[in-house]
Amino acid sequence: MAPITAGIVVFPGSNCDHDTEYAVASFKGVRPVLLWHNEHDLRGVDLVVLPGGFSYGDYLRAGAIARFSPIMQEVVDFARKGYPVLGICNGFQVLLESGLLEGALSRNRDKKFICSPTNIRVENAATSFTSRCRPQEVLSIPIAHGEGNYFAPPEVIDRLEVNGQIVFRYCDAQGNVTPESNPNGSIGNIAGIINREGNVLGLMPHPERASETLLGSADGRKLFESLFDFLAGRQ
């Protein structure tokens, strides 16, 4: 079977691109490919990951300038054709700016940049990104962001809710979604959402930073495993 190729976009200012490459390369039958922001060629990859970091220095707004980079025009087409796209942290911000996902991320409620382990609850285990998780499973995956406060108008939140598009919520270790377990002030403790079609997922926590027990948690592997299962099934 041909290896699954995972394209990882490198923007100027990305700083989790190589962590993601490392995490992805640890899966059997998966080959990471770094894609430079100035390219127009996705080189036939099976999925695209937009990694964390500070693309274009986060100038203007996080993700605002990255969204117009040459590679993003291809990523938007790729996503619209139904191929999987995963946006992590800054990558989530880019997906929102590009209109592939709905809503926006503003400054954290308590004004601080937060780098810390967090618990998130799997709200929808029936997506191609979460099939290896149990419904309501609590995952320990760290966050590292200053602008992760998810916002969307009430009618959008209602729609996301009804369609099962809210995939992860911040919670405590027992899986209770409480105000205390909300690190950044996100509406409804939202940590990650998926598009209606189910092929574009964005989340603030960093699964690549929870990809082996030595790092404190290997829960992030479940997202990658789900995705690679899905792609292997499609081949």
């Binding site: 203007l60 605002a64 300038i65 809503g103 503003s106 004004k111």
Partner: protein
Amino acid sequence: MPFNAKIKVTLRQSILDVQGKAVEHALKNLGYAAVDSARIGKYIEVSINETDRSEAERICNEICQKLLSNPVMENYAFELEHVN
């Protein structure tokens, strides 16, 4: 004759402006009891090489909607100044 666009981008009222809140608290701590609130936005100057005012306005609206502001959480306003 170019135009100079003075653009202000501000967070919508419904969005918590944490920077504004911090400044508001600092001003109150300094003893300015009359200060009620503070909000922080962005100020951007763009020079537009266009002779027709309505065309310059159209460009300005377009760039504000496309890049300079995020309509989900921000509002924008601008003034066009004729540069001689």
